[in-house]
């Protein structure tokens, strides 16, 4: 045997074998997943099991609508531009006080169990709102901000919903997952939804090609009322919990869309494919106490502002939150009222923090406590160290139950959490920050009140200016001290699909809007 054959032969054989194997599987990484495929199939990789407890969509939050939208229809759906459009409803009206909503239901809608959409089915669905396990009904449940007190079905196509209090836009409470309607059999016995969905959506579950917690294959139901509005013949959801594998799936072509990407993998996906992102979640301090009732230092605006100036947001983002945006203001970048100048004006400035502490009568700093469930987060520990640099001591009190954590809003001066103000920031401020649990002492601030009035009462440019004023007032009066805005990243193969569109300001995409690349 000559030297060439002896030494390079095995390598050549191995290389040839690998190449042959690759050739066997075809291009694009050789096909990879069972779901990868035909032109009329879209494969979506998700970083969490879309249906961990079965196919009862009401058990899940709004974000799961990107999965359930194919199997179920909703009374209203959020469009990519953020508007709310009727879906199972053809017409609707609200009374003058916005306390009663009348829906006219679509005709010719059939569920998987063979039953037809009518007002009784809708009423039976909405009457499940007393079940505390149904996360989708969180806001319309008894005692909640958008409580429904009564649902009537005067005729088969009409539903009348009565709200406990006037609602700014009642239909917004019945959108996406919260407005999903389950068929008569499924809603009568929700246990059956553990193994099979009962929806009227444009797709049905292909049980033979579905392995719960791993792969869900949905095939188009050509009989569905809205089948023509959906592009693909099949939608495949692959559950990929490993962040790197999720990114690899879209990079190497096994998935057309991958959500939600881990920030550490964004560069890889951007380099090979494409990403799209949406912000909207602001993480940081909200001052619960502005009166000094729980801690005298918090009655001083200067002391509250010092906290904001002491946060080194750039370092926090670089060290812990790649892909996030440092921010000193409460409103997200895409929200009306966002003002880039605030980030500069109220950004990290430890010297200014010390000046303000002295001005507030605390030249050596002050001490406060916040309640955490279990261990404090990395963010909280990092911010604790940053506050210590200017003399502010933040202690952690460990809660042993969620009840104890929730109760701490009455005893803690401040809370450090993520907050999503949503499409209506003025509503959030009015209902939660000024008139809700984030202001239990009922602190008053004329500047905030005036801006809030303008934001809620005005329209157009006047409303936008009022929102800008409100955003500034919240920051300048030390009612908030945000650290960064968190973004949701979705990867996609631009050669195969169009850019996924998010549902308005929500951090989930509109499944129906995923189209083949043009």
């Amino acid at each position: 045997m000559n030297r060439f054959t002896t030494r390079t032969g095995p390598a050549l054989v191995a290389a040839t074998a690998l190449t042959a194997l690759a050739a066997c599987g075809g291009g694009d990484g050789g096909g990879g997943s069972s779901s990868q495929s035909a032109e009329n199939t879209v494969t979506i990789a998700l970083n969490a099991d879309a249906a961990p407890g079965g196919y009862d969509p009401l058990l899940y939050s709004q974000g799961q609508f990107q999965f359930f939208a194919a199997l179920y229809d909703s009374l209203f759906v959020t469009q990519p531009d953020g508007t709310v459009e009727p879906s199972l409803v053809t017409e609707f009206s609200n009374n003058a006080e916005n306390t009663q909503t009348t829906l006219t239901l679509r005709e010719g809608v059939t569920f998987t169990d063979g039953s037809e959409l009518d007002s009784t089915v809708v009423k039976t669905n909405l009457d499940r709102r007393t079940d505390p396990l149904l996360e989708a009904y969180g806001s319309i449940a008894p005692g909640q901000a958008s409580e429904i007190t009564d649902v009537q079905a005067p005729d088969p196509q009409t539903v009348v919903i009565t709200w406990a209090a006037p609602q700014a836009s009642p239909e917004n409470n019945l959108v996406d997952t919260a407005g999903i309607i389950i068929g008569a059999e499924g809603v009568a016995d929700p246990d059956t939804l553990e193994t099979a969905p009962d929806g009227s959506g444009a797709y049905t579950l292909n049980e033979d090609e579905t392995t719960p917690a791993s792969t869900y294959t949905l095939d188009k139901n050509d009989e569905a009322w809205n089948a023509d509005e959906w592009t693909y013949e099949s939608v495949v959801f692959d559950v990929i919990t490993d962040p790197q594998a999720l990114a690899n799936a879209v990079v190497s072509g096994q998935a057309d869309v991958a959500a939600t990407l881990d920030p550490t993998t964004i560069d890889l996906v951007d380099e090979r494919q494409s990403t799209v992102s949406i912000g909207g979640t602001t993480v940081g301090f909200i001052m619960l106490d502005k009166t000094g009732a729980t801690n005298p230092a918090f009655a001083q605006e200067a002391a509250r502002l010092a906290i904001g100036y002491a946060i080194d947001r750039e370092t926090l983002v670089n060290d812990l939150h790649e892909g996030s945006r440092p921010t000193a203001q409460f409103f997200p970048e895409d929200a009306a009222g966002f003002d880039p100048a605030l980030d500069e004006e109220f950004g990290y400035d430890p010297d200014r923090a010390r000046e303000l502490l002295a001005e507030a009568g605390y030249p050596d700093g002050f001490e406060f406590s916040i309640t955490v469930l279990g261990q404090p987060t990395e963010d909280q520990v990092a911010v604790q160290a940053q506050l210590a640099e200017v003399g502010i001591t933040m202690n952690f009190v460990t809660a042993t139950s969620t009840d104890q954590l929730f109760a701490s809003v009455n005893t803690d001066p401040v809370i450090f959490n993520p907050f999503a103000v949503g499409a209506q920031p003025a509503g959030f401020v009015a209902g939660v920050m000024y008139g809700g649990f984030m202001n239990v002492q009922g602190a008053k601030e004329p500047e905030i009140e005036a801006a809030l009035g303008g934001a809620l009462g005005a329209t157009g440019d006047a409303q936008e200016q009022a929102l800008t004023d409100l955003n500034r007032a919240l920051t300048a009066n030390g009612w908030v001290a945000p650290a960064y805005e968190d973004f949701t990243y979705v990867g996609y193969n631009a050669d195969k699909v169009s850019e996924p569109a998010f549902a308005g300001t929500n951090n989930y995409f509109v499944l129906q809007a995923v189209q083949p690349a043009s």
Partner: protein
């Protein structure tokens, strides 16, 4: 040989029984209950107790164990507490994934390892040093790093193989093989290194045996001495190690299934443990134990066939 087979079979059945019993007891000793899982996070103690009652969890342990054994004998694994799916159907989907990975990785490790080990033993000198050093390096490489390297080079850079996913053999045999290349390569790096070293030592010992010298003295062709007589002698430890590797790969596939996003037994075991899905957890353990025991049984029989001394009671 028949007596030997009967003894091994009895031992295998006893092992499965013991594994089922231990798993059953561990599940009952641990915290939580299936009723709590079934009733959901906001359930009251009364609701949990009612669910446990309905599931038979409150019955005496021996009654529950008897029911479990009866179920297993009827090949009825029950239903998942989380998604209500028939566990046997779920296992039927998942076992081929894990088995494909474990089987192909074992085969590839065997082929590559034996080739390298025999080559090193026959050539000795520089070749032996190279093979042994290479095996040492391969063994020291963390599997997750190897996986990332293969994905980056062969999938992301060269786009030769899929980085994630599994295609069933019945759907497309070529795509099935293609989908398994990267996980199998990942596991073969370390596996082949172990086999190469085992084969090298075994062949060196075999080639030094008296009967090999005798065969040379009587003029038996060298290839026959090496690849028939010596290799047969050396194959006993190699087969043992291969068997152990298959068992380890089958039972410890969580890592590779996670990195390559494959819906196998490891992934199921992981999610069942995290969600306290007791019936699924027990089923995964039972299925894995049966596979391990059957593999061991086949291994013992194969070794007995290769080495008659083993058959002696």
């Amino acid at each position: 040989m028949l007596g030997y087979v009967a003894r091994r079979l009895a031992l295998a059945i006893g092992t499965v029984f013991a594994a089922v019993l231990i798993t059953f007891l561990l599940v009952h000793i641990g915290e939580g209950s299936p009723g709590a899982v079934k009733a959901g996070p906001g359930a009251t103690p009364e609701q949990i107790d009612a669910e446990n009652e309905a599931l038979g969890w409150n019955q005496p342990l021996f009654v529950q164990f008897g029911q479990l054994l009866g179920q297993l004998l009827r090949l009825d694994l029950g239903e998942s507490l989380i998604n209500g799916r028939d566990i046997a159907a779920d296992m039927a989907d998942r076992v081929p994934v894990t088995a494909s990975i474990a089987l192909l990785a074992t085969l590839a490790s065997g082929v590559v390892g034996i080739l390298l080990g025999v080559l090193a033993a026959v050539r000795r000198g520089g070749v032996a040093k190279t093979v042994n050093t290479g095996a040492g390096i391969a063994l020291s490489l963390p599997a997750f790093w190897v996986a990332i390297l293969f994905v980056y080079v062969l999938s992301i850079q060269l786009n030769l193989f899929p980085a994630t996913g599994y295609v069933p053999f019945s759907e497309d045999p070529a795509a099935w093989l293609n989908s398994l290349v990267l996980p199998v390569l990942t596991l073969t790096v370390g596996g082949a290194a172990i086999i190469a070293r085992t084969a090298y030592v075994g062949m060196r010992e075999a080639l030094g045996q008296e009967h090999i010298r005798t065969l040379r003295a009587v003029g038996t062709p060298e290839w026959r001495i090496r690849y028939l007589h010596a290799l047969r002698f050396a194959s006993v430890p190699v087969v043992s190690v291969l068997g152990i590797q298959f068992i380890a790969l089958f039972g410890g596939s969580v890592f590779v299934e996670t990195v390559f996003a494959m819906a196998g037994l490891g992934q199921s075991a992981q999610s069942a443990a995290l969600s306290h899905d007791f019936p699924v957890l027990i089923s995964v353990v039972v299925v894995a134990t049966v596979v391990v025991v059957v593999t061991n049984l086949l291994l013992d029989l194969l070794i007995a066939a290769l080495d008659p001394k083993v058959r002696t009671p």
